[in-house]
């Protein structure tokens, strides 16, 4: 399975390519994308250099265009995509239909990937993406391997990417989540709530074995690309990337799903501890 890794600086891009990342993706702070500006490239020059480096090494760099943008910002987004396209941009990761249509009309060499945030849940939605010029779809976090299998094996020639669930999985359907509007706080979904009778209550998400089982299911279904998300702390992302590489080997070696889940869970907790420490620091 090939890895698609998020980066936010030239140095990160260089490191990930040296470590064997098959593809990279990233955003530009000035172009709306689904993370804080601090998780994107700060300047066009640095982003361009990363695109050129990936190109030189025969790998693909995709630009994130996965947040709605209007008017002048939308025009800026399109001009950035065009400029990078001339330097060998590999793809654009798009969320909204208007932007998908606009990018398609530009007839870029860069391929169009439909973001997981577009919530492509079924084959008719996949077919529509193909009609709109996409060549790849990132499957939403919230699909189970069984539900994703027909999409991975779709008859429309669309490539599919899945997130590396072992590391992270948004419990709620992220583009349909507006909890932030209520508290103006990130991660409202991870607040320690009080439920009936004052009992502590958290919005549930898959536990480690369930996550490992999902990874196994995606690998078994033949998912071609594994996506590693961008992180504030690059050392944390490096750990996750290495973990993903081990998991790929573990899949080849393990006698079955049970063994894969058992061994993967042990590995997972190393990463999970790191993630918890990182969270406390924020």
């Amino acid at each position: 399975m090939k890895t698609v890794v998020g980066v936010k600086t030239y140095a990160e891009a260089e490191t990930m390519l040296r470590l064997g990342a098959d593809e990279l993706y990233g955003g530009l702070a000035a172009v709306p994308n689904h993370r804080f500006p601090s998780q994107s490239f700060q300047t066009m020059d640095e982003l361009k250099a990363a695109v050129k480096l990936a190109r030189k090494l025969g790998r693909r760099f995709s630009l994130l265009v996965n947040q709605p943008s209007f008017g002048a910002r939308a025009r800026r987004t399109l001009s950035v995509a065009q400029e990078l396209d001339a330097d060998g941009l590999g793809g654009c990761i798009v969320r909204e239909l208007p932007m998908l249509e606009e990018l398609r009309a530009l007839k870029l060499k860069a391929r169009l990937t439909v973001s997981s945030l577009a919530l492509c849940f079924n084959l008719p939605a996949m077919k529509r993406c193909r009609e709109l010029g996409a060549s790849r779809v990132v499957l939403p976090f919230q699909l189970t391997p069984g539900e994703a299998a027909p999409l991975i094996k779709n008859p429309y020639g669309l490539e599919t990417e899945v997130f590396f669930h072992a590391d992270f999985c948004c419990a709620n359907v992220d583009p349909a989540c507006r909890l932030w509007n209520l508290t103006r706080r990130d991660q409202t979904c991870r607040f320690p709530y009080r439920g009936p009778g004052g009992a502590s209550w958290r919005m549930p998400e898959a536990n480690a074995p369930q996550k490992m089982s999902a990874v196994h299911g995606f690998l078994r279904s033949g998912a071609q690309y594994l996506k590693i998300i961008r992180m504030h702390d690059f050392s944390e992302e490096l750990e996750v990337f290495k973990f993903a590489r081990i998991i790929d080997k573990l899949y080849a070696k393990a006698s079955g799903e049970d063994e894969f889940v058992r061994l993967g869970e042990k590995l997972y907790f190393t990463v999970s501890r790191h993630a918890r420490n990182a969270w406390k620091k924020r």
Partner: protein
């Protein structure tokens, strides 16, 4: 003109509802916008038509392929050019399929989840998108969205007293992905509190939201959809 009264129930909730539950109700919304395990079967839909003399609207959430097939079965069985079926659509694949295959027998209402995606489209694109997909009605639960869709010749159904804020596919009641469902959420609402919240969060099925007050007075709203919350605990 007074808005018509509608009631939203899932098929299990309709089965459990007493004989007076539908009194005064003009339109029954059957299904759920947030959980595909609550997509009614064709039998459920037939039973609802048998029990209720008014209009029955099919309510659908985001759909995986298995649930998609169930929705299509209902459309095939219960919709015709002479008796158009109103369907609340939250899935882009379903919206597209309805346009391609069932435009003459389905009246599309834009669901609350999909509505939040459409609202961010540039105005001219949105108008064309809604027209192309035969959308004549929008389901809302937030009055702030009314101006976004105003002036496009749309009708509005307003849901109360629950405004959805988030939706999950990892069942908060049974702690699993949407596989075998034990309907543990049926007739239950859980109240969740945190000092940072301006008001309690409610968990209803697979959706998190808040309790809202009286629906807004607006000429554009011609239907009020009651979403019973029961006694929130």
């Amino acid at each position: 003109m007074k808005p018509e009264k509608a009631l939203l129930l899932s098929a299990p909730a309709l089965r459990a509802a007493g004989p007076r539950a539908l009194t005064g109700v003009k339109t029954l919304y059957l299904g759920d916008e947030f959980c595909q395990n609550l997509v009614p079967s064709t039998e459920d839909f037939s039973a609802a038509l048998g029990r209720f003399s008014g209009k029955v609207v099919l309510v659908t959430p985001l759909l995986t392929d298995a649930a998609f097939d169930s929705v299509e079965e209902i459309i095939k069985e219960h919709a015709s050019p002479r008796r158009r079926l109103e369907v609340v659509v939250n899935d882009l694949g379903l919206l597209h399929t309805v346009r391609k295959r069932y435009a003459d027998r389905v009246a599309v209402s834009l669901g609350r989840v999909l509505g939040h995606r459409v609202k961010v489209m540039p105005r001219a694109f949105m108008a064309k998108f809604l027209k192309d997909h035969g959308v004549r009605r929008v389901d809302l639960d937030d009055p702030a969205l009314l101006p976004r869709f105003a002036g496009l010749g749309l009708k509005f159904s307003f849901h109360h007293p629950f405004r959805y804020l988030s939706v999950t596919r990892f069942c908060p009641w049974e702690k699993h992905w949407p596989a075998a469902c034990g309907l543990a959420c049926e007739n239950r609402v859980r109240k969740l509190e945190h000092p940072r919240l301006p008001s309690a969060l409610l968990l209803k099925g697979q959706a998190y939201g808040v309790r809202t007050g009286r629906p807004p007075l607006s000429q554009a709203i011609d239907r009020l959809v009651n979403e019973p919350l029961g006694a929130a605990k």
